[in-house]
């Protein structure tokens, strides 16, 4: 997918660069400057495998001034080392149930109630539902599409029926507040306009 991302950057910028010559000199200067840089950098990334070694290293080097992973590791190692030293010299702590329970390093603590497990399918379906929500909002109006989206998401994520109903009602109330308080035209969509103009 990274190539799709790069193609989006380069394609959009190429169009912007060419089109910038249609504007007045002052109006075209900035988009030409930014899009030219995006094109050059994008091409460097696309052809990174074929670049000379020094340039390739610069393009692909992901070292950061502050590498968070490295910092986490460093903090973990500090804690582990000190804990090991303590275990060697003093075992009395292990007799305490609380200490035994918390004795392992944080990284090793079992039962991480919240350890995230990557499930890309969830992201993919949520993205699809967002696009469907956008289309439904345009066709029938956001006021009605909002609870439908919430129902679709909660049903897919396997929530209990009362959670589904509760969240759907809450989302409708939320959408209604936008409609009523902010006077947003979200109660009707394209289908309503089509019915009024073509059918009725």
């Amino acid at each position: 997918m990274e190539h799709v991302l790069l193609a989006t950057f380069i394609g959009t910028s190429a169009y912007m660069f060419i089109e910038s010559y249609e504007f007045q000199a002052a109006g075209g200067m900035f988009p030409r400057f930014t899009s030219a840089i995006v094109i050059v950098l994008g091409l460097l990334l696309v052809f990174r495998a074929y670049l000379p070694a020094p340039l390739q290293r610069v393009v692909t080097d992901e070292d950061a001034m502050f590498d968070v992973d490295e910092l986490v590791e460093e903090a973990d190692v500090e804690v582990d080392t000190q804990a090991d030293e303590a275990n060697e010299t003093d075992t009395s702590d292990e007799d305490s149930p609380a200490a035994a329970e918390a004795g392992s390093s944080p990284a090793e603590t079992e039962e991480p109630a919240s350890e995230p497990v990557i499930v890309s399918r969830g992201s993919f379906i949520t993205g699809g539902l967002c696009i469907a929500y956008l289309l439904a909002s345009y066709i029938i109006g956001m006021l009605w599409a909002t609870p439908l989206f919430v129902i679709a998401y909660t049903v897919w994520s396997g929530q209990r029926w009362y959670a589904i109903v509760g969240l759907a009602i809450l989302s409708f109330v939320l959408a209604f507040l936008f409609y009523d308080v902010l006077n947003l035209d979200i109660a009707s969509g394209w289908i309503h306009d089509w019915l009024v103009q073509e059918v009725l």
Binding site: L45, S105, Y138, S171
Partner: protein
């Protein structure tokens, strides 16, 4: 003059309804901060469209209070369920969670509230004391310098944050490119609109922020499992001994707070970095370092003092130069611009908006008192927050994002398309290590950078320079030249360094 403005700002922050928004922001911040997967930037981005109904000062104080509250809130789930609500509280899990398992959850939460509040208070107090110097420095900057500092900020973010520098730069410049859609700021050109009237005003940076921080985050969260407490959390321990413990460790508190402040001021570094640096330093310098990772109170103090200390540091480049120190300050800059408050000299001019800047500082100062009161007062109830399933939150946040985006310009469908498109793009950018903060910086600062570049080109015509260059002004002003050298050094540094090492 500045002192009179400072006194005026105190009156503003304590007046109705500003004080209400300060309190509301802190509470919202604590809640969004405590829910794993959400956090300050998302909370701020999602509420950004709703602040349109507020006056500028109320809106900015609401946003900055969410930021401050979320920094503390992140520790609640870190301590109770070993899942930091924000990455800024990640190191708090090391000792906070073991304390919780030893039946000392109330003590750990009280340590967190006290150290967060005191560190936040001290760093903001220093910021206020140092503000006259800051005002003087900001006044040295003109249009050429502001254009160059935007580029310098982008370059710095790309070397400070994770991911290849080239990826960071491409993200930042693509963000800048997107802002060229619509009417040009200095000419009559209407650019890249395909004749669509909805595009004449360009890409709304608020919609971009919502897409990048709300939709992209929700897509990421939907791909993860967990984040809530599966069982009862035993709320044992005492409040007062914890407060005393913080006061008994003034060196750790001060050191961690100012590590946070210093790192917070570096564009792109943020509170996650300061959190681990401060924690590691606390372990390194402790006499009883063997107890770290087993529920050492000093570990919680160091971690929590550093992340709230970061706030004071990160607002400086944000307000003074429009360069975000973190994702949350990027949204704050968006909020400032949305309410007509452009980061830079205007926010430091006693006759213009200095009162807003001081109000932000004072709100941060008072916000720490709220953290202390809420943190210590409701500490035994904090467990409720960890029982909210993120699967309930995702559809509601997405719905709010859609409704908020549609409300931005009273029913512009292009804004809704923007949040979906940039949400999906942001998700993949994160996945492949393209800097989101650099992208946001580009989107937020694009039009300001373009205006400053245009003015610099106009000013260059009046400059006596041996070569006919449209940007000769950059070479004749000492500060511009210094910034230019800085940009070149940052970009070429990684290329030249191996040769210098040899």
């Amino acid at each position: 003059m500045s002192f009179a403005v400072f006194v005026e700002a105190i009156g503003v922050v304590l007046s109705w309804p500003v004080a209400f928004w300060l309190l509301a922001g802190m509470l919202i911040g604590i809640i969004v901060g405590s829910l794993p997967g959400l956090g300050a930037s998302l909370g701020m981005a999602i509420l950004l469209p709703l602040t349109l109904a507020l006056d500028g000062i109320s809106a900015i104080i609401l946003l900055i209070s969410i930021y401050s509250g979320a920094m503390y809130g992140g520790s609640i789930s870190a301590i109770l369920v070993n899942a930091p609500g924000t990455s800024a509280a990640a190191a708090t899990t090391f000792d906070g969670y073991p304390m919780s398992r030893q039946g000392q959850a109330v003590t750990a939460l009280s340590l967190s509230a006290t150290s967060s509040a005191l560190a936040g208070f001290l760093t903001v107090a220093v910021l206020i004391i140092a503000s006259p110097v800051l005002i003087t420095v900001v006044r040295w900057f003109g249009s050429p310098e502001y254009f160059l500092i935007a580029i310098l900020g982008l370059a710095m973010i790309t070397i400070v944050a994770q991911g290849a520098m080239v990826k960071g730069l491409i993200a930042g410049f693509f963000g800048l490119s997107l802002t060229t859609i619509g009417s040009a700021p200095m000419t009559a050109d209407v650019r890249y609109t395909f004749g669509q009237f909805a595009l004449f005003d360009g890409v709304s940076f608020v919609a971009a922020l919502i897409g990048l921080f709300a939709i992209a985050e929700m897509l990421k969260l939907a791909g993860e499992r967990g984040g809530i407490s599966r069982g009862e959390v035993r709320m044992g321990g005492d409040v007062l001994p914890a407060v005393k413990s913080v006061l008994n460790h003034p060196v750790t508190l001060l050191k961690s707070a100012f590590i946070g402040m210093g790192i917070g001021a570096i564009p792109g570094a943020g509170s996650t970095v300061s959190n681990f640096v401060a924690y590691t330093e606390a372990v390194r310098s402790a006499d009883d370092s063997s107890t770290f990772g087993k529920g050492n109170e000093v570990g919680v103090i160091a971690s929590e003092a550093s992340n709230n200390g970061t706030i004071g540091g990160s607002v400086v480049p944000a307000i003074a130069f429009g360069i975000p120190g973190s994702a949350a300050t990027a949204v704050l800059i968006g909020g400032l611009i949305m309410h007509g408050l452009v980061p830079g000299p205007e926010l430091f001019d006693a006759d213009a908006n200095l009162v807003v800047t001081y109000s932000v500082f004072i709100a941060l100062l008072l916000g720490n008192i709220v953290i202390l009161l809420v943190g210590l007062g409701l500490v035994t109830r904090a467990g409720y927050l960890t029982r909210i399933d993120t699967k309930y939150i995702i559809p509601m946040i997405i719905a709010l994002a859609f409704l908020g985006a549609f409300a931005l310009r009273s029913g512009n469908w292009f804004d809704v398309v923007t949040i979906v498109a940039l949400g999906i793009m942001g998700y993949y950018m994160k996945r492949y290590n393209y800097s989101i903060i650099a992208f946001v910086l580009g989107v937020v600062l694009g039009s300001i950078a373009e205006e400053n570049l245009y003015r610099s080109v106009v000013l260059s015509r009046r400059v006596d320079f041996p070569i006919d260059l449209p940007i000769s002004i950059f070479f004749v002003r000492p500060l511009s030249l210094l910034l230019l050298v800085g940009i070149v050094a940052i970009i070429l540094g990684p290329i030249i360094r191996p040769y210098l090492d040899r």
